[in-house]
Amino acid sequence: MRNSSLVHKFSWVFSDPVTMADKVVLLDTWASMFGMRVRIALAEKGVQYEYKEEDLRNKSPLLLQMNPIHKKIPVLIHNGKPLCESAIIVQYIDDVWSDKAPLMPSDPYERAQARFWVDYIDKKVYDTWRKMWRSKGEEHEERKQEFISIFKQLEETLSDKAYYGGDKFGFLDIGLVPFYSWFYTFETYGNFKMEAECPKLVAWAKRCMQREAVSTSLPDEKVVYDYVVAMKKRIDSEK
């Protein structure tokens, strides 16, 4: 389920690999929050790369070769060497292209906290969303409350800062903001409004969307919703 205008949206990142010293390829799918993290990091650093859209129901030989263990996207291929796991890839990007736009906090304790919270997001958000999405009745209500409380916790962690990085946009902001493109989907399936539950978080997300690296990396939330609706129909019909 692909939107070709989105492929065009990312076409500005296509470059001629022959003339470049660094060859960077990103294996991804347009709706993946984890892939978006990597896109944002590369854009913040101004790194030219080739974007390759994967069909997760028909994974390419390249993906299976580059990520034989998890067989997942995103995979960053830097001069032929693969990197997997979005949080690890973003830290790698920060390490390699260290001359511009530092993504990790400069203080070690703040860095550890950022890693802790990205780990929290990874452990909690997507799993709880899937359980909420696939459940009905009382179980759905419980999952929904659990889901909202995760975002309330993340909002509390932000407190009154402009970004999670303080006055600087950084690793934890990158870790969370891609989920903003899924808010409409979450809200519609969960029957709640993120703005009502977590107004500060929504304000933070909109602030992040002012950054070109973020706005060019996230798809439109309605397009995401249509994709999820189609996916659910397909899953339900395959039962």
Binding site: I69, H78, Y109, D119
Partner: protein
């Protein structure tokens, strides 16, 4: 002895592989710390204050500032105390070290648990198959004396569970996963790691660990009847 960068406290329990990871990290660097034993059935107010999110051990408190999650803590320790580095300098190797540490927690530990602490044969078989698959990847990754090269690194510290706790579980529940035949390199590494001069002083007593797992397994079997 490591440089003094202030007060370090470690909240934990002696039997936990995750707590021991952090303890081994501190000991390898020669960092002075106070170990505060927790009762997990009756968690202290201090622990709940320092780790309100997960309410688990280990928690490291450095100059009053708390940190949770063993791998996050180890990276922090590595950044403050620069002797005996646990992560490589080179960015790609760093990324690989992080990848394999995460792999151990996400792909090795869960199927080992699934295979061990169940009364259901199907679960045990499936868990065993997944564990063997995961350990095969680790076996192929081991190219030197340790995952960290000639010295212990973060992947070795993370894999301590496989070196010490897995054989104890196997004995307790009657499972065979980490065998010399299937995993010659990993088996040899296990011996090197658990006999390392610092590591061996910071592991729990084996018979206590086996006893703990035996009791846990027995209660699962009883519950299933």
């Amino acid at each position: 002895m490591a440089k003094d960068y202030g007060e370090v406290k470690l909240f934990g329990v002696v039997g936990s592989p995750f707590v021991r990871r952090v303890q081994i990290a501190l000991e390898l660097k020669g960092v002075k710390y106070t170990f505060i034993e927790e009762d997990l059935k009756n968690k202290s107010d201090l622990l709940l204050k320092y780790n309100p999110i997960h309410k688990k051990v280990p928690v490291l408190v450095h100059n009053g500032k708390p940190l949770a999650e063993s791998l996050v803590i180890i990276e922090y320790i590595d950044e403050i105390w620069r002797n005996h580095p646990f992560l490589p300098q080179e960015p790609y190797d760093r990324a690989l070290a992080r990848f394999w540490s995460k792999f151990i927690d996400e792909k090795c530990l869960p199927p080992i648990s699934k295979a061990s602490f169940t009364a259901c044969k199907e679960e045990r078989d499936k868990g065993t198959e997944e564990s063997l698959e995961a350990l095969e990847f680790l076996e192929n990754e081991l190219k030197h004396k340790f995952f960290g090269g000639e010295t212990i690194g973060i992947v070795d510290i993370a894999a301590g569970f496989i070196a010490f706790w897995l054989p104890a579980i196997e004995e307790a529940v009657g499972l065979k996963i980490l065998t010399h035949e299937k995993f010659p390199k990993l088996s040899k590494w296990s011996e090197e790691y658990t006999n390392h001069v610092v590591v061996k002083e910071n592991l729990p007593q084996r018979d206590k660990v086996v006893g703990f797992f035996k009791a846990r397994y027995a209660s699962i079997i009883n519950a299933s009847k």
